[in-house]
Structure formats: C-alpha cells, structure tokens
Amino acid sequence: MGDTLALYGHLIAARIRAQLQYRGSFVLETVGHAVVTFLDFVVILVLFANVPRLATWSQPEIALLYGISALAFAITDLMVGQLDWLSNWVRDGTFDQMLLRPRGTLFQIVSSDFQLRRLGKAAQGLVVLVYALSVLPIEWTPLRALLLVATIPVSAVIFISIWVFTICIVFWTVDGKEVANAFSYGGQFFAQFPMNIYDRWLRRFLGYLVPIAFISYFPALYILGKPDPLGLPAALQFAGPLVALVAALAAGRMWRVAVRHYQSAGG
C-alpha cells in the first residue's frame, strides 16, 4: 500500500513535469480552462439570480447541492478524467502496455495523468460550497460537520465507480464512450439539482440504481435538517459510504470482466 502510494506520487510528479515541459501550451491551456470555468460560474449565478426557489429548495440550498456535486466531480475528473482516452487506447492497442506492467490496470490509468488545469474546476466547486455554507442558517452538530467532510470523498468514489463501470463498454464497442459520458458528465449535472424535481422513473434509474441521489441529495438533506420532500427513510441520508463501497466493488468487478474481453489491436 505504502509502495503503491509512493509510486503514485512518482508517476504524478512525472506527469506534472511533462506538462511543464511545454510551458507556453500549459499557460494557454490553464488560462483557457479558467475562462471556461468562469463562464460556467456566470451561468450558475444567472440561474440562481432568476430562480429563487426550485421545488421547495431555496437558492442557497441548491448552491449546496451544486457545490458538493461540483467539488466531488472535480476530484473525480482530476483522478480518472483520462478514462476519456480509454476508447482510443483500446482501439489502437496502447492498453497493451498497461497489461505488461506489474501493477493493476486501474491504478495505472489513475496514475497516468494529472491535469493541473482541472484544479480550477475544483476551486469553482469549493467557492460555491463555501458560499452556500456561509449564507445557509445551518445548525451545526458534530455529526453534520462529519457528514459534510466525509461526503466529498465518498461522493467522488461514487462518481469514479459510475465512470469506471460505464466506460467498460468501450471494451465491447469502441464507440461506446458517449454512453459512459452520459453517466459521468451527465451524472454531475443530475446531482446539481434536488431529486424531487425529476420524473419518478428518471429518479429511480439515475437516482437510486445509478446511485446519484447519494452524492449530494441525501447528505444535503441531513446537513440542512430538511424534511425529505420524497418522504424516504432518513437512514438513506447516511448510506453514502455503504453505497460508495458497493458501487466501487461493482465497478471493480465489471472492470475485470471487461479487461478479459480486451482484444488488443493489429496482427
């Protein structure tokens, strides 16, 4: 374990040094990314300014959902955003070399990249989260504080599991990347709003089966001390870690099956 963490450090440091080799391109990309992130932020401000309430949720309450979801997804993107490349690696056979090294393939994907510019996205999520927490009249208890702190990594694990699980489709059909994106990027969008605005079937599928409701909705209910507009058991508000564990196990299992199906490329 210690050895693996040290290796992660070495590999990520190498990736960062590589990015800094192309200084001009790095600066341009970072600036570009910051501009796009800022525009996203403007969209949220406009949205919040015009929608003071959304299905029993006040504007700062929605900002809390948004902040949790954006921050957790930014961490996800920082760690496994390179899954976007997996379909190319599978198509051209680059994935071969991951199978030739004495380390887990998922670990190698996680450690294969670290895009510094994605930190901007995390900062944006953090700003919204801090704003929400500063204006909301939350009655803090140790349990609420603990749940908030735990929710970020737990939700990131859920996002990562969803992404890993769905990206496995590229081992069968190389064009399947868009399907996975619908769940990863789409999931982040879905988690930004309260579950009770969605249609029942959408909620069942994306909220519970793909457990996006556990990312921001359930923990936010507890932190806010808000009665669940859907009237679901309060225990669900603490189920995040368990859901994350199950999701991670399912994703790991799926990944192993998918890798066995890998067909490489060329003669």
Binding site: R17, D96, L99, R260, Q263, G267
Partner: protein, 324 residues
C-alpha cells in the same frame, strides 16, 4: 520443466462487417489455430511468418495481454492472463512499434519510473543501469526527452527499460524494424550478451532473416495461425533457402538469357532476374556464363527473403497434406 510451454492454443476473433443497411455479418477469424511448442531456459528462438500470420497474437497471449480462446500456456510456471502481475515482474517486453518510455520526459526519468513500477532494489538498479549505459552507449542522450531521440536511440532506451528488472525471458516483437545496419548490429550484440551473460531466454519475432541467422539456432514459422516449421535455422536454409537470385544489368537490351543451371524469372529493360540453386551452380560460374553471352554492366545477388522461404514451405505443406 521448460520455461515456456504452449499446448494447442487458439485465438479466435469475431469480426463484424456491414452487410446491408442494418444487417451485420459476423464471422470468426482464427488468428492462432492450434499451436504447440516448448522453449527451454537460456535459448534464443526466432518466431517468424508473414504479416497477419498470428505472430503478435501469440506473443500477446504469452505475455498476458490476450486471453487464449483455447489451449494451455505456462511461462516460468505461470498462466499469463491468470497471473498477469507476477508474470510481468519476470518478463521483459519490447514491441518495436510501440513506445513504453515516457514521451515527454528525459530518458533517464523513464528508467527511474520503471524502477519504481517494478520495485527494483536501488543497488541492483544502479548496477544494471551502469552496465546498459556502457553496453548500449546511452550517455550522450540520457538527459534528452524521448520525443527528441532518433529511432535507434529510442530502441536502445526501450531495450534498457525492458531489462532493468532482470527478466527471465524477453519477448521482442520486431525489435530491429526500421533500424539502419549499424543500429541493428548493436541490438543483436546486446541480445546475444544478455543471453550469454545473464542467461535471459529470448523469443523474438522479425521479418529480418539476418536477425535470426545472427541470433538464434531455432526458428518457429507460423502461417495462417498454424505452426509450419519448428527446427534449426541451418536445416531450414538447406531445405528451402537454397534458391538465390542474380540480378544483372546488361549493356544492351536482349531476349532472356539461356543458361544451363538457372532460369530467367523476370526481365525489365536492360535488367534480368536469374534464379539459381545454390547446390547446382555458384554465383561465380553463373556470372561467367552470363558474361559469355552478353556484355555486363552491373550485378547483384539477392538472398532469399524470409517471406519467400515461408511461402515455399507453405506450398510444400499444402502439397503434402491430404484434403487441401
């Protein structure tokens, strides 16, 4: 027990292609179709065959990349795809057309990363690196980013990376492809020394008959997914590689030459291609015979290409096998 044991392995790929607007036809391609062989520790074995014969697919099954559709493989006592990670620590792999090194980083940094990935002890790493730096003359470009290396330099870097963790066996897929004569020679020297001094077993695929001649005594030939020859290189040449081609440029165009123990297989303007059997006549006698008939401007002798040898063997197999 032999280091590598392969028993009746097969690899089928399902290929779908469009047949009409919505309909898709599925067909099964047998990339590897029932191959068996064993390789003893400390040997160098050449694995050859035309493009698409199944060479790379076999190597990918041996190294744990592809799961065989059927059959049994054991490499140093391990089942490749079942025990991929322990196997990866004991094998070194170099695919001539793939890059293992970190493209944007100085070469030495890739070696450092491999040291961590393979958990090579610091002292052993220093010893190995020092030895490869000298053998492969890496020092002039050790600090150069990999993307700026020439192909020859990069291959030397790749070979080092494949050897830093003291593998028991090296799998090389086209290690000399695209290299000039000097660089090829350097790679071959290195492999011979690794085999002799470190006892590394080597399995290499190549299109270059010279690689095989310099390196290995044993050769496996595969075509259409089947093993069609397993034996010594000398025996192979004696049996199939005896036909050489003398290419002559004449001073004036003329009809195909008539020669005693050889035949003209092609003419083009002033140039004629004459095939002859090594054991029936010599190049020198043939040249004299040609010179007696026409004025010679230039000449070269072509050695049989590995593809030709394979084709001849395959034809032989097809002729002898019933039901073909």
């Amino acid at each position: 027990m032999a280091l590598i044991e392969v028993e009746n392995i097969r690899k089928d790929f399902v290929v779908t292609r469009k047949a009409g607007r919505l309909r898709r036809e599925r067909s099964v391609v047998h990339a590897v179709d029932g191959i068996s062989f064993t390789i003893e520790r400390g040997t160098i074995v050449g694995y050859i065959g035309p493009n698409g014969a199944g060479k790379s697919t076999t190597v990918k099954m041996l190294t744990g990349i592809l799961v065989p559709s059927a059959g049994r493989i054991s490499v140093d006592g391990l089942v490749p795809t079942e025990q991929r990670i322990p196997l990866a620590r004991r094998i070194g792999v170099m695919f001539g057309q793939r890059i293992q090194l970190w493209w944007d980083l100085p070469l030495i940094e890739s070696f450092e990363l491999f040291r961590h990935i393979y958990s090579v002890k610091a002292e052993r790493y220093r010893e190995n690196l020092a030895s490869f730096r000298e053998l492969l003359e890496l020092d002039p470009f050790l600090e150069t980013p990999v993307r700026q290396l020439s192909l020859g330099q990069r291959v030397r870097g790749e070979l080092t990376a494949a050897m830093l963790h003291d593998p028991e066996v090296l799998f090389l897929d086209e290690p000399t492809i695209g290299l000039d004569v000097v660089a090829k020679q350097r790679v071959r020297e290195f492999l011979l020394r690794a085999n002799r001094e470190r006892g590394v077993t080597v399995l290499l695929t190549t299109h270059d008959l010279a690689d095989i001649e310099r390196l290995s005594s044993r050769i496996l030939i595969i075509d259409h997914g089947k093993l069609i020859y397993d034996g010594d290189v000398e025996a192979l040449k004696a049996r199939y590689g005896t036909e050489r081609v003398l290419v002559v440029d004449l001073e004036e165009p003329g009809p195909p030459l008539r020669l005693e123990d050889a035949r003209v297989i092609r003419t083009e303007g002033l140039r004629q291609w004459i095939a002859f059997e090594r054991d029936r006549t010599s190049a020198a006698r043939l040249v004299a015979e040609v010179a007696a008939q026409a004025a010679l401007r230039d000449l070269t002798v072509e050695e049989p290409e590995i593809e030709d040898v394979v084709r001849r063997i395959y034809r032989g197999v097809a002729q002898h096998a019933p039901n073909v």
